[in-house]
Structure formats: structure tokens, C-alpha cells
Symmetry: C2
Subunit: 198 residues, 2 copies
DNA sequence: GGCTTGACCAGAGGATTCTTCTAGAGCAAT
DNA sequence: ATTGCTCTAGAAGAATCCTCTGGTCAAGCC
């Protein structure tokens, strides 16, 4: 029966929760839905997550963590600034296609923008943005605009497009949008990375 | 006692709901909270909104409608393309400062990205994006990239920055970010509006 | 005035949903 | 074998949601 971890209901609950949340929305989803979909018991749910919010928060952290890890790996492997800047945009677009469910959930569940985010989520974000910040400043050759502005220029259009695509308001595909978004990111950030030759 | 409409509990419920949602998050907010904060009764709440989702949806529509109306007024008053492009960015930044509560709620409550949005919300968005689309195509002098891409380049960085600022992850203010975001929007869109002189 | 109609409001109470709690299974270390 | 830990189970109590009945009030009509 393999080890304890592999049999654990924790993952089953997360999977079931994702499916239910996408089917009914987070507000309308019931513990009952999640339990029957995942085959777990009330006890397991409360043991692992402490409630509906804990479950949704943990799912959020899991999805975001996977995204961050993959994104930073792409960035870290880039041989130069232009490749890196474009890689993140392209990774984002292929990630939302490959993980549409998770991407939708990440966009739809944003309660933590109101009540304070969990420690785990806060630290996840801090690490990721810290890595990004470091990557940028290590390569910059001019004085940078404030970092939140740089990041917004880099990824804002891509996030915005993704949001539209995921809510199915849009006919153009991520693949079609990719060259435009990649170019505009490099267009905005490129000047920061070239030597100041006058 | 004035007319019926002015005494109505509908607005009181919306106001109370906004306050509660911001205080506890949408998921944790209870009808009880909203009722005691707004001084309305169970009957009123269900009469007007039919439930928690209906209440949150109506609040969303109210907030977004106010934003759209003001934004399009600014765009419509602009004498030329550059003024218009910059005006929307600047309007967005001042709106989130003037209506921080509503802006936070609009960002935090996104259940409708999963279950189908209400007719009212869908039509609100259709009208607004239709107006924007019209404004752009009326003034374009070159062949446009796909419209969702254009809109993402225009507003994506501003939305992205706003999101960071509203969740208090960021020290720089909207006023400080404004010139950067306004410039980058015009930088991205300007070429579409100039005559193709070679 | 008196009657009718329809919009709106009130709150009790049944139905649903959430959470706690006790009990026990499986595994590892002693 | 015993102890201690993690995890699972589901019944029962607590909390929350929503339906339903019975109003109030203003407006329109006779």
C-alpha cells in the first residue's frame, strides 16, 4: 500500500476542490461537493485544511508555487536579458494553456487581497519577486524606474491578455498574441539592459 | 419620509455588504453581518438580491458601472489620441485612490470568471469594450494588432500596478507611478495613431 | 373616502451547511 | 507489546442560509 504520503487524502481533496470550484464557483461550492468528489471524509478535510478557506488557500499556494518554480527556472536558464524577458512572457502564455484550470482558479479566487494573505502565500510571493528583482538589477545598465513599475511593464500586458482569454471573452489565442506581447515586453524593458552608450 | 426609493434598503444593503466584504473577505462574510451593518431585514435582502451571490454580483455591477461611466467620459472629452490614451491611465490611477474600497472589492471578487457572469455584467462589459474599440478604430492610421492585444498594452501595466498597490505589497504611490505608466501606454499605442508616413 | 394593486419590509422557523468531537486505524520507534 | 504520532471516519451539535407568511405604505381608481 506504499507509504503514507502517497495514499494521503490531502492531494485528493485539493484535486476535488479545484474541480468543484471551477464547476460551481468558490462561493457556491459546498464541503459536501468536495468530499463526495474526492472520496475523503469530513475529518480529513478539517485535519488537513481547517475549513473552506484553508482549503482554497492551500490550493492557491499549490497552483501558484508550481507556476513560480517553472517560471523562474526558465528565467534562470536564459543566456541574456532579451531571452529572459521574452521567456517569462512566453512561459506565462504556454502555462495558461497547459494548466487552464489552475490558471482560472488563480484568477478567480482572490479573497486574500482583502483579508491578510497566509504566511505561506506571502512568503511565496516575496521569494518570487525577490528573485525577479535580483535578476533585473544584476543586469541593468541604467537607473531603473521603481521596480513595481518595471514588473508591471514586463508582465502587465500578458496578465491582462490572459485574464481576457481565460474568461473566454476573446477569440484570439495565446499563440497568436505571443509575438505581440513578447515584443512589447522587450520594447519596454530592453533599454534598461543595454549599456549606456550615450 | 420622502419617496419610497430614497428610503430603500437596497442601497443600505449594498453599502453594508461592501464594508463587510472588505472587513472579512467575501467567503467569510455572513448574511447576519450584512444585515446588522445595514439595518435591513432578511426579507429585504432576499427580495432585492436573492442571496449572497446576487448581492455580491449587484455590488460588483454597481462599482464597475461607476468606473466605466467616468472612464469613458474622460476618453470622450479628449481632443486627440495622445490625450485620450493618457487620460484613461490617469483616470484609473486616480479612481483607485478616490475609491479604494470599491477598487479592492472589484479585484477581490472574481467568482464570475468561473460561473457565467450575470447578463447585466456581461452587457456592461460589452458596451464599455465596444466604446473603447470604436474609439481606437476611429483614430487608427495603421493596421491594428488584434484588439485584445492593443487593450492589454494600453491598460495592462496600469492594472498590474494597481493590483500590487491595492494589496499593499508596494511602497510607491499611484501618483509616483503615473508618469511611467502614462508614458509607457503612449509609447506602446502612439504608433498606431500616427499617419503612415513611410 | 374606500378599495385594489404592487413594491417593499419584517422576522420566525425549517432546511442546509459547517465545524467540532470522539473513536479508531496504520505505522514507527522503543 | 506498548506508546505516540499522523491520518481517517462519521455522528452530532452549531451556525448559517433561505423560504414563507404576514404585514406596511404609496399610488391609482371608483
Amino acid at each position: 500500500m506504499a507509504t503514507r504520503q502517497e495514499t494521503s487524502k490531502r492531494q485528493a481533496l485539493l484535486d476535488g476542490a479545484l474541480a468543484c470550484f471551477l464547476e460551481h464557483g468558490v462561493v457556491e461550492t459546498t464541503m459536501e461537493h468536495v468530499l463526495s468528489r474526492s472520496g475523503a471524509s469530513v475529518g480529513s478535510l478539517y485535519h488537513h485544511f481547517g475549513g473552506k478557506e484553508g482549503l482554497a488557500d492551500a490550493l492557491y499556494v499549490e497552483c501558484l508555487g508550481g507556476y513560480h518554480t517553472a517560471a523562474f527556472a526558465r528565467l534562470d536558464a536564459a543566456p541574456d536579458a532579451e531571452t529572459g524577458v521574452r521567456a517569462i512572457v512566453e512561459h506565462h502564455l504556454s502555462w495558461i494553456v497547459a494548466h487552464t484550470d489552475r490558471a482560472k482558479f488563480l484568477l478567480a479566487y482572490r479573497d486574500h487581497e482583502i483579508r491578510p494573505a497566509s504566511d505561506e502565500l506571502r512568503s511565496l510571493n516575496r521569494v518570487f519577486y525577490g528573485q525577479i528583482e535580483r535578476w533585473i538589477t544584476d543586469r541593468a545598465h541604467v537607473e531603473l524606474p521603481p521596480l513595481p513599475v518595471v514588473i508591471s511593464q514586463w508582465l502587465g500586458p500578458t496578465h491582462s491578455f490572459s485574464r481576457h482569454w481565460l474568461s473566454a471573452q476573446v477569440r484570439i489565442t495565446p499563440a497568436d498574441a505571443r509575438p505581440f506581447l513578447s515584443d512589447s515586453a522587450w520594447h519596454a524593458l530592453g533599454p534598461l539592459f543595454r549599456p549606456t552608450t550615450g
